[in-house]
Symmetry: C2
Subunit: 199 residues, 2 copies
């Protein structure tokens, strides 16, 4: 015998979320059921609030309760530099590091022959429109250091270069705090080629 | 700048669940927001269904959508053996292993001088009432192998023994698949004292 269907349903819903497995879903389900007032109901409300308010920003593709999003509205940010990322999660990661003070553009993926993702499947036209307006100084391609990321970067560069926009990509090399012997050959080669003279 | 308050609220609600941390809560939030129809709404429904139906079984303390719970109702189970556990999660763990074919009783904790948990804080009277009825053959104390677990087992034995019920506890020793050198002294001592002659 197993738990009741309602408990099983909740557990399997939670277990399907990325970042959770069957074990953590079980623990979470138990905690939710044992504290319905302080855990379950507030979670339902948080989910419903988010579902009601959160939408995709029409300018950059970020998720926010405002449209355009808070980043696109922020006039203190450098409007002339756009950082292009694959997913909203990448945007959030960059925002946590607080190093980019310009705007963003979320592609929604990368070109991939394997997955059949072509240019028409990516969110590109708003970026090109902003580049055509002529007030863009730089587009930073913060895509994954993968074959798909490099292909997409190459293709985007071909679209943006004729519009007179400077296009750059993230630096490759050793991750901070990383040990040399743990690195793969590709990273080691990139780190060696990207070496800087000590000042 | 951070995400919108609705997104932050959802993230922090999820991060507070046991089994999740800030990182998995972020990944889960993103997945929920990106697939509202297939992930977020079904999760809200699963939560609401569970909140509406799940209750504590008045006989054993299990969580189920029926009261008495499916286990207590199951006439194919041995009604004369009750396995006493601290929490519902322990009951679920035993049910997954399918070794216990009797009933359960959830205490809701252990006696603990440190936490100020006394006999009056535990769910004990339904168990004693069942023992007093006289149709119980054995009570298996499946409590944690901790000081609190042992104290509680000792105290429960004092309550149950006068009623003529056989009281047992789980065996202590090496966990299956465990390596000897990884075991603590207490477990090694318990394993040595609990040795069995090879047949």
């Amino acid at each position: 015998m197993r738990a009741s269907p309602e408990i099983e349903a909740l557990m399997s819903r939670l277990a399907k979320l990325p970042g959770l497995g069957p074990r953590s879903a079980r623990r979470a389900t138990l905690a939710l059921l044992q504290q319905p007032e302080t855990r379950l109901q507030p979670l339902v409300e948080a989910l419903q609030n988010a579902a009601r308010t959160v939408q995709t920003c029409e300018l950059c593709g970020n998720l926010d309760s405002q449209n355009p999003c808070l980043i696109c509205r922020d006039q203190t940010r450098d409007q002339s530099v756009i950082c292009v990322v694959e997913h909203v999660g990448d945007l959030w990661a960059l925002e946590r590091s607080s190093v980019h003070r310009g705007l963003y553009h979320v592609l929604g993926g990368t070109l991939s022959a394997l997955n059949g993702t072509g240019p028409q499947d990516l969110n590109v036209s708003p970026l090109l429109q902003r580049a055509e307006k002529g007030d863009l100084k730089e587009v930073i391609l913060a895509l994954g250091a993968t074959v798909e990321g490099a292909t997409t970067a190459h293709w985007l560069n071909e679209q943006l270069a004729p519009l007179g926009v400077k296009v750059s990509r993230l630096g490759h090399g050793m991750p901070m705090g990383g040990a040399l012997e743990g690195l793969d050959d590709g990273t080691l080669a990139a780190a060696l080629m990207g070496r800087r003279e000590l000042s």
